[in-house]
């Protein structure tokens, strides 16, 4: 019987304070990923590729080997690493600017190839690190520093649903969208991360978990207001759930 940690800091997460803002989703998401790595007992063969964005410094928090990518290129670096050492468990951790704007080509093709890696995609509908500009996933009407009257489709186009797009590709084996807006959602998110890593370990193809995450700082909300905004504003456009599961496995 495998013992799963139910409380306490996961071994994979280093005992250091993070640079994330109060109420930010990254802390919880980091912890979920670390718990899954611990639970699967794969810390010593896991490699993370950090993005450019708020999570650029995540290798300061995860006790695993790491690359830091250029903006949007994490899937290509992960591909190079995995092709050299197929026994490794390789995952990219990317924000919406990284995965859904500047790195869209890499994001689509890593899935199209069915590359046996996992992407943790954190969608908070805004550019966090650079101070709150419009993201490709910014909702229509949402105010950002570059859409001060709210995002208008006539000039700024429409928010992009990455998970739905990736799920159409045969190489993508597991695709799920989750959130960390409630204890129930956190528990479901952890299950999705675990399935994504298991999909990779079993060699079934590419796996993607999109997190809807809150950014109280750039949304100009309290943490409580921001989790409510995820549920009331984001979830209707970005529905939660598993979009694709490997046929023979689940």
């Amino acid at each position: 019987m495998e013992m799963e940690m139910v409380s306490g800091r996961p071994k994979t997460l280093l005992p250091v304070p993070t640079h994330y803002c109060p109420g930010c989703g990254h802390g919880v998401i980091h912890r979920l990923v670390a718990e899954v790595i611990d639970g699967l007992g794969i810390r010593e063969k896991t490699v993370v590729v950090a993005p450019v964005g708020c999570a650029v410094l995540l290798y300061n928090y995860f006790d695993v080997d790491a690359y830091e990518a250029a903006h949007g290129r994490a899937p290509a670096i992960a591909t190079g690493c995995k092709r050299v050492n197929p026994e490794l468990v390789v995952f990219t951790y990317q924000g919406d600017g990284d995965f859904a704007a500047i790195g869209t080509a890499e994001a689509v093709h890593v899935a199209a190839r069915g590359e046996k890696i996992t992407t943790i995609f954190v969608n908070n509908a805004v550019y966090g690190m650079t101070g709150g500009q419009m993201a490709p996933t910014t909702l229509l009407g949402q105010k950002t520093t570059t859409t001060t009257s709210g995002r208008a489709s006539e000039t700024a186009g429409f928010p992009i649903r990455m998970s739905e797009m990736i799920a159409t590709l045969p190489g993508a084996a597991y695709v799920a969208r989750v959130s960390v807006s409630s204890p129930k959602n956190v528990a479901q998110a952890k299950m999705a991360v675990r399935k994504a890593f298991e999909t990779q370990i079993k060699g079934l193809g590419y796996s993607l978990v999109e997190f809807l995450s809150q950014c109280p700082t750039n949304w100009h909300m309290t943490p409580v207001e921001s989790v409510r905004w995820v549920e009331e504003q984001m979830v209707p456009y970005y529905p939660l759930g598993e979009l694709k599961v490997p046929k023979e496995e689940y």
């Binding site: 290798y59 591909t79 080509a105």
Partner: protein, 353 residues
């Protein structure tokens, strides 16, 4: 035992890479270097390696980043427009001090330009190309055999200096067929790579990164990179002096143009003119000293390039006004003929008299 094989430059480079221990190739098709990727696509699987056709040159160079960081010998190849797309990644590779080999079979630019041979990426190759303070080591073969030898050397240099190394050729070098032989190095260079990403088992985690927000730390890293490159400048200058001992006029040319210059020199010598060639093999580091010494006793140096004048700037820098530096070029994919070079030298010889 080695045997001679009749091969095009591009294929010779690919085979040389495999024999040098290259086990990963990532690339995107572009003329005139497609034979490298095509060769690798069947050859690498034979030796348990990985060939992958990427979605772009941008992705290719980051796959190279990932594979180099995982500890394997890895290469990519492209031609001018594709190499431009890779510049961001080359800067990151240099910053992360990852060893890799990049082949550029230059075609005429700017823009899409053409697919005929050119040497107009000299600045991009030797002076940076991407952002930040870094240099690739750049090697320029002028025969298929030299392409083989330099490709093997390139992997050793990449490992030795933890730096990207470029093989800078052109359409001619890549397409021309010549007999080549593959000699394995007597002492294969094996680099210790304790910094690679393999999973943090029984050791602290390794991190391959290029972000250093503290300028005190970044300055230290930049200075260390400068010291490393100075070491390469000290050790890795390569050039071929050809009939320069008694020469009154010296031609400076590399790659394809150097071959043509050799033919021109034979004709000129038959005409009684003492002409030689100083051929840079390493374009970075550039053989400044060899040109400085040549300028001490030669009145005229003729630089011939398939560019509007790029290497000529380095020659002028080396010569420092001590001899006259003349320049002749063909551009846009046109290759200078030996007749043109003969005529240029004769013109200079008349002026000197």
């Amino acid at each position: 035992m080695t045997e001679k094989k009749f091969m095009a430059g591009n294929e010779a480079i690919a085979e040389a890479a495999v024999q040098a221990g290259c086990r990963c190739y990532f690339g995107y098709p572009i003329t005139p270097q497609n034979e490298i990727g095509e060769y690798m696509s069947w050859r690498l699987p034979q030796v348990g390696g990985c060939y992958l056709q990427a979605e772009s040159e941008v992705a290719s160079i980051y796959m190279v980043f990932g594979a180099a960081g995982a500890g394997t010998r890895v290469m990519t190849s492209s031609s001018s427009p594709g190499i431009s797309l890779m510049q961001e990644g080359i800067s990151y590779i240099a910053a992360a001090e990852l060893p890799c080999v990049i082949v550029n079979m230059m075609r005429a630019g700017p823009g899409l330009g053409g697919i005929q041979p050119s040497q107009s990426d000299y600045f991009q190759a030797t002076k940076g190309g991407g952002h930040g303070d870094y240099h690739m080591l750049v090697l320029a073969p002028h025969t298929a055999q030299e392409a083989v030898n330099l490709t093997m050397l390139a992997f050793d240099l990449a490992d030795k200096y933890r730096n990207p190394v470029m093989i800078l050729g052109d359409g001619n070098i890549g397409q021309m067929m010549e007999p080549v032989e593959f000699k394995s190095p007597e002492k294969p260079f094996v680099a210790r790579k304790e910094w690679i990403v393999t999973g943090a088992k029984n050791r602290p985690r390794n991190i391959i990164k290029t972000l250093f927000l503290d300028p005190v730390i970044l300055e230290k890293r930049n200075l260390a990179m400068g010291a490393k490159l100075r070491e390469a400048v000290k050790n890795e200058v390569r050039f071929e002096p050809y009939m320069i001992e008694d020469a009154d006029i010296v031609i400076a040319a590399y790659g394809t143009v150097a071959r043509i210059a050799k033919t021109a020199i034979k004709i000129l010598r038959e005409k009684g003119l003492k002409v030689g060639l100083l051929r840079p093999i390493s374009l970075y580091p550039f053989p400044y000293q060899a040109f400085a010494q040549t300028a001490e006793r030669v009145k005229s140096i003729l630089v011939v390039e398939m560019s509007l004048g790029q290497m000529v700037e380095d020659v002028k820098l080396a010569v420092c006004g001590k001899s006259r530096v003349h320049f002749y070029c063909r551009v846009g994919g046109m290759v200078p003929s030996y007749d043109e070079i003969v005529a240029e030298v004769e013109k200079i010889a008349k002026e000197v008299k």
